[in-house]
């Protein structure tokens, strides 16, 4: 294996894409391999198996497909609900709106339970909605990247099991997989929608979804055909099963290099130190530390309840006298990249920070660098305007 050290660059601390380990980037530079090579199949199989570990989902079927995280919404909407059926969308920000639009594109009748910006729908409101009608699927954004709001995945899964056991529970975990603890099997989650470039610390370009046996049964018993060709789980299921059995099969060419990269990252996540359990704890601690430091500087979390804030990212309103573009610029000149606002209602009033994946690994000090950078940037801006 050639040696490799990534070139100097600004530290990427947005809520995804995130920093990647040298080994992951080197794997992404793997010499060309046939997608049906017996030498490549073990890497594909490894990723499938490791994703089950990351999501505590021994019975789920992972699907690893070339695409953005967004493709996962189409996979759910085209495969697990039929035109005319009802979907309940819990909305805690930008991504709830978009998932709803995607479901409607495929003919679902969407009912939304919306929370005010920074909030999440209460369990009481969700229960009431579930009792009002019959829903094929209920979706929620585990971490809404636009607000940093964290949903209570466990409680939501249990609620559906109790109140509406036939409804499939869809967790949009694009900004949560591998940074937030998700016990897919135990929590009654039918689908986790993920992507490579967030907690999994792999370059973007891989759609990752893990699907329960119950959801696969729903797929099997559809009355109408799946309304997509590329995003058709029925076509991908035998492919995933074949690769897992080390027998490559073809439907569409997988993103071979990105799968090598994903394998390298999943090895660190599931076999390395810290352990998977410790990893989630480290994310919680890093989050707490950063949020505290930001609050001390006068930033105020967009998430309104402390227990409903993500552990892999932070969205905060800027203090008075600090314009978000100036702050982004001041951090940029210190070699740190953070993100501006995304949610349309508050876009110009807040900024977003990422602290997930390899960035919170004990061997690195990204969070300390980010805190120091933020302190210095704020001091600079205050000094300039004084």
């Amino acid at each position: 294996m050639p040696s490799f050290k990534q070139s100097e660059h600004k530290l990427l601390l947005i809520p995804g894409p995130v920093e990647c380990h040298d080994d992951v980037l080197l794997a992404n530079a793997h010499p060309s391999m046939s997608h049906v090579s017996p030498a490549f199949a073990p890497s594909f199989a490894y990723c499938i198996k490791a994703l089950r570990k990351v999501l505590y989902a021994p019975t789920a079927q992972p699907f690893i497909i070339a695409g953005s995280g967004t493709l996962g919404w189409d996979l759910v909407a085209a495969n697990l609900i039929e035109a005319g059926q009802n979907a309940l969308v819990l909305n805690s920000g930008y991504f709830g709106d978009s998932f709803a639009e995607c479901l409607e594109t495929y003919g679902a009748k969407v009912t939304q339970v919306k929370a005010p910006v920074g909030g999440r729908p209460s369990l009481e409101d969700v229960e009431a909605a579930l009792k009002k009608d019959k829903y094929a699927v209920m979706t929620f954004t585990h971490v809404d990247t636009s607000t940093g709001v964290l949903s209570d995945a466990k409680a939501l899964g249990e609620l559906v099991k109790r109140v509406s056991p036939e409804t499939l529970v869809i967790l949009d975990g694009v900004c949560a997989v591998a940074s937030e603890e998700i016990h897919q099997d135990d929590w009654n989650i039918d689908v986790v929608v993920g992507a490579s470039q967030k907690g999994l610390s792999t370059p973007p370009g891989v759609s990752i979804t893990t699907v329960s046996t119950k959801a696969l049964k729903v797929l099997e018993n559809r009355k109408t055909p799946v309304a997509s060709y590329f995003a058709n789980y029925k076509r991908w299921l035998p492919i995933m099963q074949s690769y897992e059995n080390l027998t490559p099969a073809y439907f569409a060419t997988p993103p071979v290099n990105l799968i090598y990269a994903l394998e390298a990252s999943l090895k660190q996540i599931t076999e390395g130190s810290p352990s998977l359990e410790e990893r989630f704890q480290i994310h919680r601690e890093a989050s707490k530390k950063f949020k505290k430091a930001a609050e001390e500087l006068g930033f105020k979390q967009v998430a309104t309840e402390p227990e409903a804030a993500a552990n892999g990212m932070t969205a905060v309103y800027v203090p008075e006298g600090i314009a978000p573009p100036a702050l982004v610029g001041a951090l940029g000149s210190r070699g740190i990249v953070i993100a501006g606002g995304l949610h349309k209602d508050i876009k110009t009033k807040y900024v977003r920070f990422g602290h997930m994946g390899v960035s919170v690994h004990p061997s690195r000090n990204d969070v300390d660098v980010m805190i120091k950078g933020l302190q210095d940037a704020v001091a600079e801006i205050k000094h300039q305007s004084a």
Copy 2:
């Protein structure tokens, strides 16, 4: 920029994925960058502009989206034809069958003009079909990867212009872009469907389509909504335009690293030596040389007409006494990876070779290595069975 040399590996000479240049693989290992960074936008813009050059399509709109080549079929089927409209599919192998299935998934009424294995529909048959009904789109596979058959893109484009000018002409160029000459604008081609991992010598994971002004007009005037969320050109059009204007915009996260890799490859293709024109000539010469050598060893082309054979790949029936798996194995043990059969009717009787992209660059001798390997492998197998 760190130095980089890919590790020793078997020479990948299948009809895609193909070998990548060191610079392309290094670009794929680019440190993490924000998808909306002003530092990344020029690379995205470069790819958009360079694709217009590669396809001689100054007026077309390229779309660069995370996905497999197959996603391009969904893009066509979901955006440029409406349910109930007619599609004419010219079938020269496996990929015609699949494109037809994809179109039907979205509600198109498909009529196929099928050629026998190794052939392509005659222009007379296509003309007759076009005169029989009104078609929203006509699709053809420029190079069918399963048979190595090359369609006459220029003649087909001109035929449609003369006989059925409202029909959109869709060229499936997944195995043709950058290895076969395609003059999209001059030849009246409305969409070229491509992917990164073939003639463009970039790792797999990017769907590339270039769409004519006329096709965008058809999209704009649809009576029914686009039947996909992720594969919706209306959502991607402003994004592509923004990136081209160096103003990043967000719909779904682009495959950032693969776009750096694509940029590195497109730089070599459009700015390097040989020139783009010479590049196509070099592909033709490499193909001729390899096909002649294979024929001298008793292999017979699947493509039945010499002028209807691809320049970037070769599909050949094995001579008597040589089993395809044995041949694949004998070449593999010589460090050369070739592909087995894919077309269901002849799967066990033939093999496929790739000679496209960086593999035919004058600085390399991949084709000579492949010819020598084939000669030795055949001699070995004959010796063993003698």
